[in-house]
Symmetry: C2
Subunit: 329 residues, 2 copies
């Protein structure tokens, strides 16, 4: 069956609140720079009160990838849970306006839409604090197996292992994809997320993942090694294809006996939020368009470069038009 969508993303539907802080702010609030911390409502309130003024925009790792992939011309659908509130409307508007099909019904009279307080330090690194809110309510019932069967690749984020009911959605989607001959891609999301769920991740990767995205700290955390080379060889054995990113050192793509090294696209760094998401978007959009591994990685790097030159996880208007140009032959 010809696929209706190139990519179906399933992830935590989150609105980001981005503000710039100094390193002392992170230390004062016991944060690990570059990591994603799960926070409860009390911590969210305390942290928000002490933060500088912010800008809000739609986020969520896989949702970011979906928005960028759509800008690159891919046909994209998304599954994620927002609440029936103002931030939920913002999320729905933005992902729809980005050209992504988003049909998941909102959560009514439950937790509010998830938000992530993102603190960007002067070195461009982002430190995230996620209040999962309505994402906790995403469950297997939200995964439509027909939708999964209509997508060439179903792309999942490792963060979905945090809300317990979402894991069931995760497995249901993977199994539906494989039953209809489709592919499953996974992003490991965050080294601390890998630590929280290492055994479950290793099993899921080995049993269900065709395409794995991870950065250096995530893949070494998964395989509990300090050696990137060792981790990439383990990934080579575990999955059909792994795209492993190393910030300014570019990415290494391993597929069977092939190893392809792709340089990073040099660019001034303002805020690294969304860089990995944009890389995966460029990679998957290119892959579903039949491009070579080197092209997939290069368009991934170029999309990431556009995202890190401004505050926020999704490309702004100028970046979006540059990203659209990337997909032109």
């Amino acid at each position: 069956m010809k696929a209706k969508y190139d990519i179906l993303g399933i992830g935590n539907a989150i609105v980001d609140v981005v503000a710039a802080v100094d390193d002392q702010f992170l230390a004062r609030h016991d944060m690990h720079k570059g990591a994603m911390h799960l926070i409860d409502t009390d911590r969210a309130d305390t942290l928000y009160s002490s933060m500088p003024p912010g800008k809000e925009s739609s986020g969520g790792s896989v949702a970011n990838s979906c928005a960028v992939a759509a800008a690159l011309g891919a046909r994209v659908a998304y599954v994620g849970k927002v609440a029936d509130d103002q931030l939920g409307s913002v999320f729905r508007h933005d992902i729809t306006a980005a050209g992504v099909t988003f049909l998941t019904p909102p959560l009514r009279s439950g937790a509010p839409t998830a938000r992530c307080l993102i603190l960007v330090t002067p070195d461009g690194q982002r430190t995230m604090n996620t209040y999962l809110g309505a994402c906790i309510a995403l469950d297997a019932a939200d995964v439509d197996v027909d939708l999964v069967s209509e997508a060439t690749v179903t792309y999942l984020e490792g963060y979905l292992f945090d809300p317990p009911a979402a894991q069931a959605a995760f497995y249901k989607a993977a199994s539906a994809a494989h039953q209809t001959g489709r592919q499953v891609a996974l992003s490991l999301s965050d080294a601390f997320c890998v630590h929280r769920h290492r055994d479950a991740f290793k099993k899921f990767v080995a049993d269900h993942v065709d395409i794995l995205f991870a950065n250096e700290s995530e893949i070494t955390a998964l395989y509990e090694t300090n050696s990137f080379e060792e981790a990439s060889e383990l990934a080579r054995k575990a999955v059909a294809l792994a795209a492993l990113t190393r910030s300014e050192r570019g990415s290494i793509i391993v597929r069977g006996a092939d190893t392809v090294a792709v340089p990073a696209t040099a660019t001034p760094v303002v805020d690294t939020t969304g860089a990995g998401d944009a890389y995966a978007a460029g990679f998957l959009a290119s892959m579903t368009q039949g491009k070579s591994l080197f092209e997939c990685g290069s368009i991934g790097s170029a999309a990431a470069a556009q995202v890190i030159t401004h505050y926020g996880a999704r490309p702004g208007p100028e970046a979006l038009s540059l990203i659209r140009d990337l997909s032109k032959p």
Copy 2:
């Protein structure tokens, strides 16, 4: 009595949704480029659905001025009406985090927090569509005369003439300020707003305003003339001090017999939203610090220049630190 605040701002408390569009989008939706249009909920829904993805941040003309003035070291308080909802919390957080005292209680179980859909065209001009929401509920009871008497300048926005109950707040504040020997400043806000309320504006300006801010199209709209020179002479007679801005041509300040011309600060234009607000902030903060008219205008121009180099009405993190530097001797 020594003032506790340098500036008390009273205005419409609004959250902005900023997106980039082309000129055709404005034409298709019958908008006048550069103007502020008042819209109802239906129009807000229709317009939002057809807009590209946006970024949300706190706005409102006088609220923007308050945030910039606080960054310049002024002691600032603000009165405005948000609802008890997510966008209201965003507004409250941002203005408080900017260092502004904001005590107005939120509206409960009424209209939602006001929002302004701001469309930025490639020439950097912004076209605004405001759904007034909870701002409609701002009334004279929200103006604390003691607070007014504690501020050197009470700064009002012309937009307050749109929500009917706010006009009463406007008059109450002006009269309380003058009764305690304080000054009243007004921004005319928008040429279309001037058209809607011309007679009321002329009377208020002549009877109650000490310091008037207007751009060229607003001041010529007020006095129904095509000549900026004629309009500025009429302003000179009507108020003690008028600061009249002319975009890249800088500003003209008239006070009694004095006329001071201040050049604009040259800068690349990305989005002009908030330029006038930042000018007024720089001017008023400098004025309450005892600076010369030329310095007041120059710091106003420099603050405006910082705001127009990025999307959004309030300075971003880099701009904020440059603005803070402006106030250093």
